[in-house]
């Protein structure tokens, strides 16, 4: 039996939800995952090899050998990159995808994020555009993601920014020692603040226990399974129906089409038992949920005489507008200790600057940060004028590890068509599949917004009573990484988009992309809740269509 109602490629934030909705609707689903099911021990607590600090490796896939990509830098020099290198723009490859090890910030986008071109116009060289759907259309699905996975937050505190009908199912994470100082400073400055919404059980929920406040959140797996991801919510639900078959260690090679170009199934390599075997599964519908880079790669690799440039790529749109977030960061030495060893550590944010900043297109959110292990702090958080070695460096670590306050946040990326995924002409992975080739940068308007947000971060640190303040400003680079999005954007016009508002690839009735690839723009927030909301919406549509 290798014939299904639907094949879903990828078990991350979107794929798990699509599998769950379809399986619960009685559809017979095959769920493919190139990585494997990782236990808490598999993910481990290596301070140098995790999805937050990946000096020599990482902890949630893909494997370091046999999975290269090609990166083309701003000077047009290309090189082969390994999965843990920054320029690989990795997210993760395991059951749950990035949600296995993410920080789980559960932001809704701002209503204005869905109409960026209308609000700001289209800057020269950018591909800024409106979404084909509004915040109001997506609102019920945001609510569904919050309630079905389990989000903790304070709905009232962001009511004025983001209208919502129903509160979060769980109370927000409690304050840390820095929270009151940041809240009071924001009040002095006239800024709004809110607890940071998180997909973390602040109380037992969904049959799983509550957060125990350990120091290892983003980049690691949760010891009590209190952090909610695809792997411990929607995928178990899908499997419990008996209608969903999960095949791990399987990498999709191509989406199969018939002589007329209609999608018929997926060919993949199954490495689970006794070495890789090439298999083909048939389905009425194929859903690609492999993340913005791998989803684009798969469509581009699925070329045929009818679709010579790849599926959905008649107008050379697949893989373009790759975007993520630049992250300006500001730090300050607090007069009092701000570290109490209780995680996750992220507690308070301001959404004051997500829009309507003079002379700036978009903006972003700023929040305090997750607890950083000391070596992460050493790499990330030291002042630029501090010597990197010697007794002065050691004393700074000793005196200030518990006193450095930190805010950072994602800046709305202004996309452009040259930030893109293509497939490399010569480099192949260990199965012989052409690999993703990444090139281009973000638009300079993103850097301008990041500079503006960096200044706000410094302002917040100073108002919080910090004695010494410093910051980092990202340059004109390609954004993507764990917030990767935009490569198969939704839209009404096939000339400037890849799919319709449901994620259905233009000119196909049974091929869907459902993941961050669909994002026309990526908001000034962590994007995962939007990925999830879109997945619920598309999955309901697909369930009705089969």
């Amino acid at each position: 039996m290798n014939s299904f109602d639907a094949i879903i490629i990828g078990t991350g934030a979107a794929g798990g939800i699509v599998a769950c909705v379809l399986a619960e609707a009685g559809k017979h689903v095959l769920l493919l995952e190139r990585g494997s099911q990782l236990s808490f021990a598999d993910v481990g607590r290596d301070h140098l090899r995790n999805q937050r600090l990946a000096i020599y490796g990482h902890n949630a896939g893909p494997e370091l050998v046999g999975n290269p990509r090609v990166f083309v830098d701003e000077q047009d020099r290309q090189r082969i990159v390994k999965p843990y290198e920054l320029d690989y723009h990795n997210n993760a490859a395991c059951v749950g995808g990035g949600t296995r090890v993410y920080g789980a910030q559960a932001w809704r986008f701002h209503p204005d994020d869905f109409g960026m071109a209308t609000k700001y116009g289209v800057p020269e060289g950018s591909s800024l555009a409106d979404w084909p759907i509004s915040y109001e259309t997506l609102e019920p699905f945001y609510e569904r993601a919050e309630w079905e996975l389990g989000a903790a937050g304070n709905g009232e505190s962001i009511q004025h920014q983001v209208p919502r009908k129903r509160n979060y199912p769980l109370p927000p994470v409690g304050p840390s020692p820095q929270t009151a100082a940041l809240r009071n400073a924001a009040r002095q400055l006239g800024w709004v603040t809110t607890p940071v919404p998180l997909l973390i059980n602040t109380e037992p929920y969904g049959g799983r226990s509550a957060c125990i406040g350990c120091k290892y959140c983003v980049g690691f797996a949760c010891p009590t399974d209190a952090k909610s991801g695809s792997q411990n919510t929607v995928i178990p639900r899908a499997l419990a129906t008996g209608n969903c078959e999960l095949r791990t260690s399987t990498i999709a090679e191509v989406i199969e089409t018939d002589a007329r170009g209609n999608v018929t199934g997926v060919s993949y390599f199954d490495s689970a038992a006794g070495g890789p075997r090439r298999q083909t599964a048939r389905a009425k519908i194929v859903i690609v949920s492999a993340g913005a880079i791998e989803s684009a790669r798969l469509l581009l690799n699925s070329h045929s005489p009818v679709h010579p440039a790849g599926l959905g790529n008649e107008n050379d749109q697949v893989g373009r507008n790759l975007q993520g977030h630049l992250y300006p960061r500001a730090y300050g030495i607090s007069p009092t200790k701000v570290f109490d060893g209780i995680g996750p550590g992220v507690t308070i944010a301001t959404t004051q600057f997500n829009h309507d900043n003079p002379g700036i297109i978009g903006g972003g959110m700023l929040a305090d940060d997750f607890i950083k292990p000391p070596i992460d702090f050493w790499y990330d958080s030291l002042p630029p004028d501090l010597p990197r070695w010697g007794i002065e460096n050691k004393r700074f670590m000793r005196e200030n590890y518990t006193r450095v306050m930190h805010v950072r946040g994602p800046v709305q990326d202004i996309p452009n068509p040259e930030g893109r995924v293509t497939v490399d002409a010569t480099v192949r992975d260990k199965w012989g599949i052409p690999v993703a080739r990444l090139s281009g940068t973000t638009h300079r308007a993103t850097v301008e917004a990041a500079e503006f947000m960096r200044e706000r971060g410094e302002e917040w640190m100073r108002a919080s009573g910090c004695e010494k303040v410093w910051s980092t400003q990202p340059g004109l680079i390609l954004s993507g990484r764990q917030h990767q999005a935009g490569t198969c954007r939704m839209g009404r016009d096939p000339k400037s988009s890849v799919s319709d508002e449901w994620g259905r690839v233009h000119k196909h009735d049974n091929l869907f992309v459902v993941d961050g690839s669909l994002h026309v723009t990526n908001g000034g927030f962590n994007p995962v809740l939007t990925v999830m909301a879109l997945a619920f919406r598309s999955a309901e549509f697909i369930a009705r269509a089969i």
Partner: protein, 134 residues
């Protein structure tokens, strides 16, 4: 590779005070392990770099690095960091020095299971862990 030289270098990078320096915290063990695992391809260059530091000390002071005064050691390392060396180096001096600084910090501040940070001393020092945790 002269282990006395290596010890003297890393103790300049993270010197002992009332908390152990890099050597006593086990950073040599961390590096040893790293050069046999993730950095096998750089192991030869690493040894050459350490030898180059000794050669530089001999050229400048007529003494191996470990026999220099602390002030001489610090000023020589600062020169290497800036890339201003007086001898011919088999590896780019400032890049090698950066790697030394980074790997020493990694060994000192990462988890004891990696070989360094013996007894979680740096975690107690920074406050990441209470003494009773470690």
């Amino acid at each position: 590779m002269n282990s006395e030289t290596h010890r003297a270098i890393i103790d300049c990078l993270i010197p002992p005070d009332d908390f152990p320096g890099a050597y006593d915290a086990g950073v040599c063990d961390y590096l040893e392990r790293l050069l046999h695992t993730d950095l096998t391809d750089q192991a030869v260059d690493f040894c050459r770099g350490i030898e180059a530091i000794d050669a530089e000390a001999l050229a400048r002071f007529d003494k191996p690095f470990a026999k220099l005064s602390p002030a001489e050691q610090r000023s020589m390392l600062a020169a290497i960091e800036a890339g201003t060396v007086e001898t011919s180096w088999p590896v780019p001096p400032s890049r090698f020095f950066e790697m030394l600084v980074n790997t020493t910090a990694e060994g000192y501040y990462s988890e004891p299971q990696q070989g360094g940070n013996r007894g979680a001393v740096s975690w107690v020092m920074t406050g990441f862990e209470e003494l009773s945790d470690s």
